[in-house]
Assembly symmetry: C4
Homo-oligomer: 376 residues x 4
Amino acid sequence: GPHAPVNVAEFHALAKAKLTPMVYGYFSSGADDQQTLQDNEEGFRRLRFRPRVLIDVSNADMMTEVLGVKISFPLVVAPTAMQRMAHPEGELATARAVAKAGTVMGLSSWSTTALEDVEAEAPGSPKWFQLYVYKDREVTKQLVMRAEAAGYKAIALTVDTPRLGRREADIKNQFNLPPHLTMGNFAMLKQANMENDGGSGLAAYVASLIDRSLSWKDIQWLKSITKMPILAKGVVTAEDAVLAVENGCAGIIVSNHGARQLDGVISTIDALEEVVNAVQGKVPVFVDSGVRRGTDIVKALALGAKACLIGRPVVWGLSVAGEQGITYVLDMLKKEFELAMSLCGCVKVSDINRSMVIRDAFAPYDVRRTLPPSKA
Amino acid sequence: GPHAPVNVAEFHALAKAKLTPMVYGYFSSGADDQQTLQDNEEGFRRLRFRPRVLIDVSNADMMTEVLGVKISFPLVVAPTAMQRMAHPEGELATARAVAKAGTVMGLSSWSTTALEDVEAEAPGSPKWFQLYVYKDREVTKQLVMRAEAAGYKAIALTVDTPRLGRREADIKNQFNLPPHLTMGNFAMLKQANMENDGGSGLAAYVASLIDRSLSWKDIQWLKSITKMPILAKGVVTAEDAVLAVENGCAGIIVSNHGARQLDGVISTIDALEEVVNAVQGKVPVFVDSGVRRGTDIVKALALGAKACLIGRPVVWGLSVAGEQGITYVLDMLKKEFELAMSLCGCVKVSDINRSMVIRDAFAPYDVRRTLPPSKA
Amino acid sequence: GPHAPVNVAEFHALAKAKLTPMVYGYFSSGADDQQTLQDNEEGFRRLRFRPRVLIDVSNADMMTEVLGVKISFPLVVAPTAMQRMAHPEGELATARAVAKAGTVMGLSSWSTTALEDVEAEAPGSPKWFQLYVYKDREVTKQLVMRAEAAGYKAIALTVDTPRLGRREADIKNQFNLPPHLTMGNFAMLKQANMENDGGSGLAAYVASLIDRSLSWKDIQWLKSITKMPILAKGVVTAEDAVLAVENGCAGIIVSNHGARQLDGVISTIDALEEVVNAVQGKVPVFVDSGVRRGTDIVKALALGAKACLIGRPVVWGLSVAGEQGITYVLDMLKKEFELAMSLCGCVKVSDINRSMVIRDAFAPYDVRRTLPPSKA
Amino acid sequence: GPHAPVNVAEFHALAKAKLTPMVYGYFSSGADDQQTLQDNEEGFRRLRFRPRVLIDVSNADMMTEVLGVKISFPLVVAPTAMQRMAHPEGELATARAVAKAGTVMGLSSWSTTALEDVEAEAPGSPKWFQLYVYKDREVTKQLVMRAEAAGYKAIALTVDTPRLGRREADIKNQFNLPPHLTMGNFAMLKQANMENDGGSGLAAYVASLIDRSLSWKDIQWLKSITKMPILAKGVVTAEDAVLAVENGCAGIIVSNHGARQLDGVISTIDALEEVVNAVQGKVPVFVDSGVRRGTDIVKALALGAKACLIGRPVVWGLSVAGEQGITYVLDMLKKEFELAMSLCGCVKVSDINRSMVIRDAFAPYDVRRTLPPSKA
Ligand SMILES: Cc1cc2nc3c(=O)[nH]c(=O)nc-3n(C[C@H](O)[C@H](O)[C@H](O)COP(=O)(O)O)c2cc1C
Ligand SMILES: Cc1cc2nc3c(=O)[nH]c(=O)nc-3n(C[C@H](O)[C@H](O)[C@H](O)COP(=O)(O)O)c2cc1C
Ligand SMILES: Cc1cc2nc3c(=O)[nH]c(=O)nc-3n(C[C@H](O)[C@H](O)[C@H](O)COP(=O)(O)O)c2cc1C
Ligand SMILES: Cc1cc2nc3c(=O)[nH]c(=O)nc-3n(C[C@H](O)[C@H](O)[C@H](O)COP(=O)(O)O)c2cc1C
């Protein structure tokens, strides 16, 4: 008979069966040939564990701290747009489930629920506001100020999206936000609506409204309008990691946007160590894109990440069973992580160290890539 | 027409056809995505032979010695649990076949036959008792003392199982020991029975009864209650190999538990040489997980193993034809090993040396991984 | 419902469905086992991007210059033979589409339209004439002089075809130019017709008419009969790159003829950097064979190419919808390139540099091959 | 409609369709899991050409010399047993076809035609006699003396077969020489017949009759009974290459017996360069196992081989169309080789040099394997 899903991949399959092709296409797809979509997951598989044994693991402690907030285990929920397409309760269901799980929720600028309503649904539990910078800087400023006023703990500034990636499913499906939904943070504003001219409606939206001129100096501007710490979401090189620190970012999220922006980009787990080495511990480094297992979290932490984020796994949980589905997914990953930690001989999160992983047998030298001398 | 199976893979297929899905699932599966299950076998394929020619191989001598006991060829039978699920005669059939084959039998703590009955079935032929340490140390102590009294030659202390790995087939099948069987070493004790609360019954059993706090100091305790030599089963790193030697282990079994504990762990054949180099000949090093061919045994010995162990191949033989099936499998592997030795130009086991194998053409440098400096 | 093709691969599929097997076989196939055909595309996938972020990309400028001519983006149309087999308008449709796209058209010696007619169809827009050197040097000389007189901007001298590669589809199909078509540059001459003796008609044509004795000294001869700059098309080694420069070539096209000549030859993207390093900036280096995406163009430029050429993608566009099909393909690749540039943080073509790509994670060392000492 | 086969793979398919499963199984199969069978061919694909251009190739000269005999191109026919199973004319057809092709024929000890009859069928054309050393040294001596008397030019002493490899098809099929055939070199002797006891009849034959004690000192014995030069067939290591030279062998055939002996052995093209370097030009080095294309021959020569041998391709030709089939195969490979040479810019065989190939992009360092220090 049928059984409850036992891993993220089974949630993915259930969600696919439930969603319309257009919505499933939007949630699942990566850019162009989806090479990076596959590589993000494969990158984790290229690492192998070197577990330690005969260590008393009877008191596993998964707690960690991100930006001064204690979370139940080193996994944060990434901001993903338009969650009401997955489930009528959308971001509200997510907020409740994430609060219950004791971790941080990332809320997208393109939430289908107003940020204040999301906060109100799970008041006080930690949230990060993901920011897309609009050409209309007044609109942008209002967003940031509202997030701060509502109690959001940080801004995750998305730096990899001056334009939207080519997601061919969306082009073919002429993807558009379904008419009964709006971009909830922009009530009454033109930024609330997507229109479609024959390709991806979202790509057209970004092209017309999002600011392609965004640059490092705008971090100064952002800091001038908010006291919230700023995370640079979408850095994958040492060069940019150094710039992020120099420009006052409070942390870095190594991300390739779930492979939705530039196909062929390095997988994030391959990029992570370069970034970690570059920041030299000055700010925490997070990583997302391709995390599907508790073991993936251990691998990322071994390479120096403070915590991981997940995007699609939460969307699949939400699609399948709303709040309960997300709770199930987060709980499953927490249990997987706890077991993986224990089987590696780690009692607490800080026990996870670089010696716990090597690259796989096809590339048996565990040294860092020799980077070409940067011209930047 | 049908023919007798000619290799381990064909025994596997026959066993699969014969067993119920629940039992087959338990015997065959690895943890999580079964990446390591595949990698254990692939690891052997990544090695290539450099055979020597024009050596008189008319007197092939396969004999070797493990812990002071002569065996007919360098293959030992690994402890595998609950063999009566494979065949009504279970561990008794195994004991007879292994004795006849002239090698060592590993008996699991979770045997479905009492250890004394197993010994009585093949009296005097060498056996190792695999030990899981129970929270109830008195129960554990009784087990060890009974094994010693019965004449077992060594304790194989399993060090990779403070908790049970996530075997998804068992979770889906709500795996449980069939009602007509019991854990034969625990008659009348609560440790004799598995109960099921909706997932893997065995995982629940381990969580409730096995001691997660087991650590290196417990080797001292074990040595205080038995004179049997202690093998650390489940070491895959140089660091732990050194600790095993320092803590008085008489040998090391490089094992990842047949890929059933931590998915993504290094394949044992890739880990072997690191361990061999670390122990510097002070104790013998054995290896299991993925051995399926006589050539695999030659490869392992070339990298420094004293002998290999096999788990599933014996289970498949037992499932297909009881004692006779195991005899067939062991005999086949012995013949394969003898042929492989001869075709490598080796007359006796000690002729097999490091120069006989290289890593494959995709990773043509035959040097050891550079390990990250251990923080431990 | 059906949608417009969204990438080159979909154009390929549509063209395959439309063309006869003989014509499709000729256009699509590579030599022998088609290993290089696959490797040309895979070579690009082995590279990974290291994109830079937070750079103002609001004014993307894709313009570049090739041999003194400004083109709208760094993509040139490679010479491909016998285009009237793809579409009745053949090379005339190509000329119009390429002129409209603002780039250079390569015209094959084996055009099914006379070079003067092609020029007249899109007068003044830049064209390169691809030259095969015939045994009959007078015929060859006339060709070159006519091209110069008609206003062609350069000679692309094909150096990899002293004989035709073994394209097994053509052998099986006994490929021949359909009777209603002729080699348009050779009206009235015997060089205008292909005959078939049971294998590839084109292979027989080349064997009987093309000069196998062509060598570096013939560059001098060519320079003596024309003022047009000469590009060596088909160089894949540092050694030949140096010789090309020494013999006065104005540029190099790193090409393996779309994998149609020597199967097993290095993919061009793998050969590119060696050539770039060897020429030390003395002449521009172009690359073709396997370019299918805007991201491929960025990768090639990162490794030092001045521009890419495409062969089959244009043939597929022409086959599917004539001039309009080519316009669609070129426009799509231009948009893909612009997006890829922007997502890499590049504002103008010259911003694309070596630090933007690394080889993939299976070969993580980004160093150049150590070449064996050349005996030549 | 159907077309003539255009490559060796198509001959293979036609032969498979024509032969009985038992005979096809014998001819085609490799040992155990047939990993090396696949790897032999893949080894060639892992090499990439670095062709040179603009070299006058109008006078391609494929001639070369092996052991003082001129041959039409650097390909020799390997000895393969029992050719009358493929075609009624068996070795006689082969002798005629090979003589016509102007190269050397290897004749197996296990020919189904007497060596004198084979010589008589193509008198004077060069042949090598492949020797298996029988326990009965008198029988062996007679064989060698008869070969010398008949005019054979060399002994190819097979050094990789003290016992027969495990070919599972033969075990399953209980392979035996069909009753109407005999081992033609042993008329009236017990060595003429194979009997079957339930597994591979040939394996039993070898076990009972072939001398497992054969060693380097027997080269002296051989040299004492014949003036023919002796080639060591089956060497794959530098160590044995040095011993072969020291013991007076006139040449080495790098071979793994077409992957029929030890599964997992290094592919011959990967072993070749090590052997070439070890012999330092003192004797010629040949290579077989996996050669299927003219390009493979160029690759082998680039790595230092004097010529290649082919086994199965000739068997497929013979099976499909007797003498004519072999002629077709040899002619096809000659044409492929000539074309490949020309496309590499080589005019004569000695132009093919080390710089013409590199290992593939997944292992881009073209350096030799670092061998472990030999203990032998
Ligand atoms: C459906 C979907 C919507 C997303 N929306 C946003 C967004 O609005 N803003 C943003 O910065 N990232 C967005 N992302 C990227 C995620 O924040 C995160 O980087 C990514 O999902 C991680 O990869 P994973 O899905 O493989 O876990 C989105 C991702 C998905 C899959
Ligand atoms: C069905 C099964 C049961 C096992 N039971 C035990 C056990 O009770 N104790 C233990 O230490 N290892 C156990 N193992 C692991 C084996 O001892 C051995 O490490 C493993 O089977 C070797 O891998 P292989 O199956 O690939 O040969 C078991 C393995 C299998 C497949
Ligand atoms: C159908 C076809 C015809 C071609 N004809 C010629 C030709 O006449 N002269 C020439 O130099 N190259 C010719 N080429 C090679 C192209 O100029 C170019 O090098 C190649 O197509 C690039 O590879 P791609 O097809 O993968 O883009 C031809 C290629 C194809 C596919
Ligand atoms: C059917 C068959 C029979 C063979 N018989 C012999 C033999 O009698 N003696 C020998 O030395 N090698 C024998 N060989 C090995 C060949 O000489 C040669 O090494 C091998 O076929 C080369 O590999 P290839 O088949 O991939 O070209 C045989 C190979 C095959 C396929």
